[in-house]
């Protein structure tokens, strides 16, 4: 029939040729995937979270497998802002897809402002994702767990940049919509959900934790139902677009997120298992739309029948 459904979506001021992104921290700075896929085909690349100063990260073991998923506690290992700009950005620039730069602060939320100001001057930084939800850097609480703190931070960041701002929320809260509303009201252009859920696994033989940091972040299909539920809850409360993620491993799991209300999706841990999965899902979504005579992917967003 030759139908060519529209898969283009808009996130803030970003126009994405398709709604398939990669989740921060699961795609490095893209170099590792050049052998596997044509990076140009991605909707956008979200880079591993960077901080102002370099971070060494946590000792090994940093990952372990769990039922239908995995735990990680990388500890935001990254080369820091300046080395990122000098050594990682030149490669990313050349790819020709929007680059969304994920940032976090270590101690002082003021670091976000410094990071954002610097990145605002860089043309190739297409958007900024505020990772206020990393569970692996040893703080007792996350900014994303305190809606007021999140609001103040995003508001301050909003004042210093015109770039598209995406706020990445933590699922480790009682009411996810509270944080999402705070982000919207503070001027965030979009919401990414979800980051990993705090979890723990024990080697019974040795009676030791399987991660060096005892607890870590759970990802993979195991968390998908929680992620879908949170996207659905947030979708009903906010107007800005949602980038949905958590356990997507194929076209059908991606479709769940659109139906729950996500405008775009991000692939995380599945990149580790099938490095070509992003490209397969892009093709799979197009095929699904064509087969079901759906002209535009946006028709699916929040199309859950209740």
């Amino acid at each position: 029939m030759g139908m060519n459904p529209n898969v283009q979506v808009i996130i803030g001021r970003l126009k994405l040729k398709n709604p398939v992104l990669v989740a921060s921290g699961t795609f490095g700075y893209a170099q590792e995937f050049t052998h596997f896929i044509d990076l140009k085909k991605l909707g956008a690349i979200v880079t591993k979270t960077i901080t102002l100063h370099p971070r060494k990260g946590n000792p090994a073991p940093r990952t372990c497998e769990t039922p239908a998923g995995m735990l990680n506690s990388i500890g935001l290992e990254n080369p820091g802002l300046e080395v990122f700009i000098q050594e990682k950005l030149p490669f990313l620039k050349k790819i020709g897809v929007p680059i969304i730069i994920s940032i976090a602060s270590e101690e002082d939320p003021e670091e976000f402002i410094v990071l954002v100001k610097r990145l605002t001057k860089i043309k190739e930084a297409s958007a900024i994702e505020l990772n206020i939800s990393c569970p692996n850097i040893g703080h007792k609480s996350l900014i994303a767990q305190d809606s007021k703190a999140a609001y103040n931070l995003i508001r301050a960041v909003r004042k210093v940049t015109t770039k598209t701002l995406i706020t990445k929320l933590s699922p480790n809260v009682t009411d996810i919509t509270e944080a999402a509303l705070a982000a919207q009201n503070a001027g965030s252009d979009a919401i990414s959900l979800i980051n990993t859920l705090t979890g723990m696994s024990i080697d019974v033989e040795t009676k030791k934790p399987r991660l060096s940091t005892i607890t870590g972040g759970l990802s993979g299909p195991a968390i998908r139902p929680i992620a879908v539920r949170m996207v659905w809850e947030v979708y009903q409360k906010i107007k800005i677009p949602i980038i949905g993620m958590g356990g997507i491993i194929d076209t059908f799991s991606a479709l769940e997120f659109f139906l729950a209300g996500a405008t775009a999706i991000a692939i995380g841990s599945a990149n580790f298992v099938q490095p070509r999965i992003t490209i397969e899902i892009i093709a799979g979504l197009k095929k699904y739309l064509a087969e079901n005579k759906i002209k535009d992917i946006r028709v699916l967003v929040g199309a859950l029948k209740v």
Binding site: G25, T26, F27, G28, E32, F33, H35, F36, K48, K56, G57, P59, A60, P61, R62, T63, C64, E65, T66, P67, A68, G69, M70, N72, I74, E77, G220, P221, S269, N271, F272, V273, Q274, P275
Partner: protein, 236 residues
């Protein structure tokens, strides 16, 4: 287990590994790393021990089935093929797996193979190494075969004699404490050693930063900068 992998077989170097998805399901979710044991034309062999979920599933595969394999991955051993060098390969337990492929490449050189395990029934590949013409020595913790003690003790026992052959080079694969001891010996006798490390891997391709080992230059990824490292670079 023999895999028909024409491209990987052509490219693989000793010390490199494969990432294998053993089942098309969530259990297990992640791939598992296995060293390249041998290459025969288009065929590639892995040698593994059943220790858990993934290896149990592997053991049930039948001839003719398909496996989802990525590779070859990582940096392997640098080969020292100058004729004057005596190459010493030291394997602990399943550490023989990648050293077989290395021994094949070093078959024309002067080399020795030391294999250690807890007990006689866990000594693998003795005959295969001998068939290559390798000079093989065995150690077992319980003395059920060969030298009684650790393979690193065996190494220390032969070194005073071997040292007359200088230059020497050590290549080792095995459990972590053994590799740490190899590093110590390497430093003490001033013999360069390359060691193949293991760490829990989520991706195997350098993307997750999960598999790090502490080196003098900071954390390095075992799957990308390794799995083979110069022993003197590792901070234990």
């Amino acid at each position: 287990m023999v895999l028909k992998t024409p491209r990987i077989s052509r490219q693989a170097l000793p010390g490199q590994f494969l990432e294998i998805k053993v089942a098309d399901s969530y259990e297990p979710f992640l791939r598992r790393p296995f060293g390249v044991h041998r290459v025969r034309g288009e065929n590639l062999e892995i040698l593994y021990e059943v220790v858990g979920k993934a290896t149990e599933i592997l053991a049930q595969k039948k001839a003719g089935e398909y496996l989802d394999v990525i590779g070859p991955l990582g940096n392997g051993f640098r080969l020292n093929i100058t004729h004057s060098t005596l190459n010493i390969l030291v394997a602990g337990g399943m550490g023989v797996a990648p050293l077989m492929f290395l021994a094949e490449k070093l078959a024309e050189t002067k080399h020795q193979v030391l294999i250690g395990a807890k007990t006689k029934s866990q000594i693998f590949c003795e005959k295969e190494f001998q068939d290559l013409g390798s000079d093989v020595k065995i150690s077992t913790d319980d003395g059920s075969q060969g030298f009684k003690g650790k393979v690193t003790d065996l190494l220390q026992k032969i070194l005073p004699h071997a040292i007359s052959h200088k230059p020497l080079a050590i290549y080792a694969c095995g459990p972590r404490p053994m590799l740490q001891e190899i590093s110590r010996i390497s430093k003490k006798y001033n013999i360069p050693a390359q060691i193949s490390l293991e760490e829990h891997m989520a991706c195997g391709i350098g993307a997750c930063l999960g598999c790090v080992v502490n080196t003098r230059a900071g954390y390095a990824r075992v799957c990308k900068e390794g799995p083979v490292f110069d022993a003197d670079k590792i901070v234990w």
